[in-house]
Amino acid sequence: MYPDYLKDSLEKVNQTRSKRLELAKSDKPVYAPMNAAEREDVLSRYHPDSASAARSRIRIGPNKGEQLTTEITDLLEAHSMLDPKRMEASLANPDYETDMLIIGGGGADCWAAITAIKNGIKPMIATKLRLGDANSMMSEGGMQAAVAPQDSPTRHYLDAIGGGHFDNKPELVRALTEDGPEVVRELENLGVMWDKMEDGSLQILHGGGTSRKRMVSCRDYIGAIIMRTLMDEVENHPDEISIREFEPAIELLLDDKGQCAGAVLYNLDTEQFMVVRAKSTVITTGGFGRLHIRGFATTNHYGATGDGLVMAYRVGANLKFMDSVQYHPTGAIYPEQIAGFLITEKIRGAGGQPLNKDGELFVFPREPRDVESAAIIRECSSERNMGVDTASGRSGVWLDSPLIDMIHGEGYTRHQFPGMCRAFDNYDIDIVKQPMLIYPSLHYQNGGIEINERCETNIPGLFIAGEASGGVHGRNRLMGNSVLDYNVFGRRVGKQASEYAKSVELGKLSLAHVTAYAGEMMEQGIDSDLISPVILPSYTPEDVRLHQLARLGNIPARHSILRSRIGCSCGNGKEGK
């Protein structure tokens, strides 16, 4: 139930609805889409990336001198967990040997394993939490794939590269869009249940920035359905795929020829460091939402702390577009308990409209995500002051969902959006009858470790797929292209990395790059109290943390994996001042 103080604004939304329904039923856009100049204007003034403190120059590593997202610069200008000297015995006598090590627990990870065994290679999966504890599990709305006759892969290419502001690496966008239809077929052969029309054709909807309806879906559970299918398939090969859970990788290994040769895993239960010698190494560690960039609440899973970036950077892998962050336009801000919860873009694809406190449209509902988010932030800013305030100190706009049943017929919302309905039903808000209150939420790492269309990096033997990679989405990903990304490049990386593993000759294992990195930090006079990867965010209240830090050496017992800074306000879910 919405509290009384929101009733006036809710009433205005009700009053404007019939007029807006007429607009939605007409052939014209309900609000004029922005041209290039308008997009540039709102992005440069209101996108969180445009704030002066949003970026800072990195002083070490392959991208030295470039402006990166400030939290990423901090994460990379930080200490390793390891003392390389103490690892020498393990390096000489590794704890595990495998042809192919896959680091991560999401969709790209599963695909890499499934394609590797088809190529005759037995991989090892090492992941931080459980297999499936990944952003892949959480995607709701859909996946883009040019399956309809009026659409084409090249049109998908144009939409994706325009959405990314023409920065995307063309060969990656081609791979993404050209593999799409085949991925749809392979997934259904594995048992994914796509939403279909009566005649068997795929149900397709619009997403932000699409010029053709192209989003295929599994109601609003696409991530859960695809992930559980892929995981089940991985678990159907226990003799070929070994899975190590609660053992995140924390550093990569090189050999004396400069080839990537595995990783050091950290057992979260016993706090042991274990050496894996691997002929090829694949990073599918996903994104970084749990770093709470600029203090934003996030839609991401618990372990999304950008570990892959840190490990790859320390061995010298190049990063791409790590100056750009995606904020999903529609994260919940009421009730407070679900602040940051992802409201799928499919809501707008099906006709939902963002509205200000007077119940009026202020933006075309399906702009690319960065533009849509910036427009919502502008509406709530002091320039316009048209946001709706909550008692918890948040400000946002309405997302009018009741239109959806009015457009598509009664029952459509409950059938197509069971997850959304459930989340709000818990708090006695029926989204079939009432709108949701939303604000942009930290969602996606647009950039990452630079790859080519074979998922190779500048380090031989190191391959990347999924959100951890950089280049495919430029500086702004369109909706539905991340699900496609991990499927397309997960399949590709499995093929490439397993093939590479067949011929490579490894030399002596080394962590000399970690020592050298520490030396470079000292040379640059970098004074950091941060240890990275941070592995998990801490939501421990400050008073508790102060008590923990009385321990000698400042490292809380059993919490040495965690960010141990005093006064760190990460994770309170609020945009910092």
Binding site: I161, F166, R185, L202, Y302, R422
Partner: protein, 248 residues
């Protein structure tokens, strides 16, 4: 968040200041027992936030934190209530006197199979999950489901070989496994559900002819020319093409 605001009223729903802005309500505190240890936590916390508020770092028992992954299955009892309740820690609110325990993992043996050799019928269920036929229709699984699914009904569908109904009734299963832990017949319902969905997607789906056509077009390299042309455009020409494109 303006922490210095003094709020005189207890009713957050009516907390509107003279400036017209709603004021920050004061959190009320409740006592809950977290895995045997009492803790004072804000009454509007989910179980997950309450555990973290008490100072614990969750390692097992948190995943997506949004109700999709099933990592945070939790059992609890309430004062004066003999029943065991279940919930996902990420979406269940605390209550005064709640005594809770998270379930770190659910031991089970998943059936291993080759989907390509299966048939979407009761024979497959018999072969892979014969334990399903031990169901005594007690309904404990349904009561245990934090998603409120009709778990017993989908197990009955499985016993009849009605794969479509098994898929439909278990669509929103998050795989937390609380049903399997409560089942007196030791069935692993959530794994039967995944089998059912995969059988449906693989064998009972309607075929899309459009998809066949498109895959064939790509195999025939029909888009190579268009790709080559687009990829040869400079930024300006590409931008022009993009903003001039028509929209469905």
């Amino acid at each position: 968040m303006s922490g210095d605001q003094q709020n005189e009223t207890d009713d957050k729903n009516k907390a509107v200041s003279n400036t017209g802005k709603p004021e920050q309500p004061q959190a009320r505190m409740v006592t809950v027992s977290i895995m045997g240890k009492p803790a004072l936590v804000p009454d509007d916390s989910t179980i997950m936030r309450a555990i973290e508020y008490s100072g614990q770092q969750i390692i097992r028992g948190a995943g997506c934190r949004e109700g999709f992954c099933g990592a945070c299955g939790t059992i609890y009892r309430l004062p004066g209530d003999y029943r065991i309740h279940t919930g996902l820690a990420c979406t269940t609110l605390v209550q005064e006197g709640m005594a809770l325990s998270q379930i770190p993992s659910v031991p089970l043996e998943k059936a291993v199979y080759d989907l390509e050799t299966l048939t979407p019928d009761v024979d497959t269920i018999k072969e892979l999950y014969p334990v399903v036929f031990r169901c005594v229709a007690c309904g404990t699984c349904t009561k245990a489901c934090p998603q409120g699914l009709q778990v017993m009904d989908y197990i009955q569908s499985a016993m009849r070989g009605d794969i479509a109904e098994l898929m439909e009734l278990s669509y929103e299963c998050v795989g937390c496994g609380l049903c399997a832990l409560r089942c007196p017949s030791e069935i692993i319902q959530h794994k039967v559900a995944i089998l059912g969905k995969r059988l449906y997607g693989r064998y009972l789906r309607k075929e899309s002819k459009e998809l066949d056509t498109r895959i064939q077009q790509i195999k025939n390299r029909e888009y190579d020319g268009e790709y080559a042309e687009l990829m040869s455009l400079d930024r300006e020409a590409l931008s022009e093409r993009y903003y001039a494109r028509d929209t469905e």
